[in-house]
Amino acid sequence: MSLEADIVKKLSDFTLDVHFKAENERLGLLGASGCGKTMTLKCIAGIAAPDSGRIVINGKTVFDSVRNINLPPQKRRIGYLFQQYALFPTMTVRENMEIVLRHFSKAERKRRIDEMITKLNLYDFCNRKPSRLSGGQQQRAAMARILVTSPELIMLDEPLSALDSFLRNSVENELMRMLVSFDATILFVSHNRDEVFRICERMFVLQDGQKAAFGTTEELFRNPGSLAAARLTGVKNTAPAFRINRRKINVPDWGIALETAGDVPDDLKYAAVRAHHIYDDISGSAAVNCFCFQVLRKQSEPFKIQELLRISGEYQPLIRFISGDYDPVFPMQEIQSVRKMFIPPEHVMLLTD
């Protein structure tokens, strides 16, 4: 199973211009809302048409602007899970599956549906209408309706964002279980970096319709490469940076020079540091990247403490997270103090774009 997508489409605010290939894997499309993620899925599904480009699913060309091919969605064999699940509201869960299998014999239809009901554990509510299901049940029903058609590609558009936060974890586990058992290409669209990190093996980061980064999820979280990808993967501190030498950069906005673990590229544009990669130098033994920061503000959140740091008045502050159950040394009251902290060289991210 594979997907090859080259899509160019003019939208009202920007031009969507994405090119990627996916094999038998879970590929995440990560981007802020309105960046073109959903439009990308719609083009692949055949609900919207690109202005130009080519889309190939399992070697079958479903769209090609040069050869004038544009198969209707009905012929593309794609399972598309919509954000609101889009179950047919007048039909029960079972009827929702029956209608998509209407070309099969009655016996075959029943066999497939019963099998799916067992597989996804829909017994309790297969004779209910969607309005009487919880968000998680609706999602399972919608997945069942997709899976009975045995699609060659599955696309999920923000499948968890319609759920209450306390439900999300269990539904995500459930979804992950379904996805792992399904042997095909899976496109997972989300604006939530944590979801993409947990669910996808590779990810494509989208910013205003353009590629901001594309690679394995772990690698992109460790080394985003571009400013947009850094921000979308949750990096809190970014600033323009300049190369000093092979292992050293200057970050004027922060008023510090940083040593790096890897070679500094010639076309360096920004430096980035994750908020939880700034450490207190409690023992005073840090050898490099050790600075005296003023603590401007200290804020307690449910499971972490956020500090705002800066070198001195004329520089921009950095954000630091400390996990909430561990802050034995410095009590909450202590602000405006100056403390020694360090940033390990391997956690200094170098961005070229």
Binding site: Q83, Q84, F88
Partner: protein
């Protein structure tokens, strides 16, 4: 008062007109809901005109179309059908004025369907035909019912166009509204009053469930 024929003529005419306008309304609603831009606005405008034009204008156009000397009229005459001043003419007049209400109500409810439901249906392989009859219409059932009821009530009240092309033939084309006009004109105010009360109560009891039903949908 012995002649109840206007009541039965009215009910029969309105019912037939509603059925005809209902099916035409569904087809028109589906076509217009699928259109875009200026052509949609133009077509919608034309289909809505019978709602706002004076009934005499509708009657005039129907006379032009079905009259003795029109191409349609002559064609029908060749196969032995006479529309003008027949009961069928009353049905046509009522259907034409009921149509815009039915069409607009159904179109509005078709356009309220969550677009992703239709997109999902397409990606699941359902044909446009199946989507319309099995997915869209069931969702729009309350809208269709409302349209049919409004259309029936409007057809029941049709007067001007009916009088122009169906005339005032007691026992044949004389509907309740025409009977009221006829009785009032002949200074039989008692008869007119009885018919007025009858048509007010029929209309009320037709529209009343619509409101009850409309509320329970929320």
């Amino acid at each position: 008062m012995t002649d109840w024929s206007p009541l039965f003529i009215s009910l029969k005419t309105s019912l037939c007109a509603t059925v005809i306008a209902f099916f035409l309304g569904i087809v028109a609603a589906r076509l217009v809901a699928g259109m875009n831009g200026k052509s949609k606005a133009a077509v919608d405008c034309i289909l809505t005109l019978p709602l706002v034009l004076p009934p005499t204008v509708v009657g005039f156009f129907l006379l032009l179309i079905f009259g003795w000397n029109s191409p349609v009229g002559q064609l029908l005459r060749k196969v032995g059908i006479r529309i003008i001043f027949s009961w069928e003419a009353a049905v046509i007049a009522a259907a034409v004025v009921a149509f815009p209400l039915i069409y607009r109500t159904i179109r509005a409810s078709l356009e309220q369907i969550e677009p992703s439901i239709l997109d999902a249906a397409r990606t699941l392989g359902l044909s446009e035909w199946t989507i319309f009859w099995r997915v869209m219409l069931p969702i729009c059932l309350p809208g269709c019912a409302a349209g049919a009821v409004l259309g029936f009530a409007r057809a029941l009240g049709e007067f001007g166009a009916t009088l122009m092309i169906a005339g005032n033939i007691p026992g044949k084309t004389q509907t309740i509204p025409v009977a009221i006009w006829s009785a009032a004109g002949g200074n039989e105010m008692n008869i007119a009053l009885i018919w007025v009360l009858i048509i007010v109560s029929i209309s009320f009891f037709v529209l009343f469930p619509l409101n009850i039903f409309g509320k329970s949908r929320l």
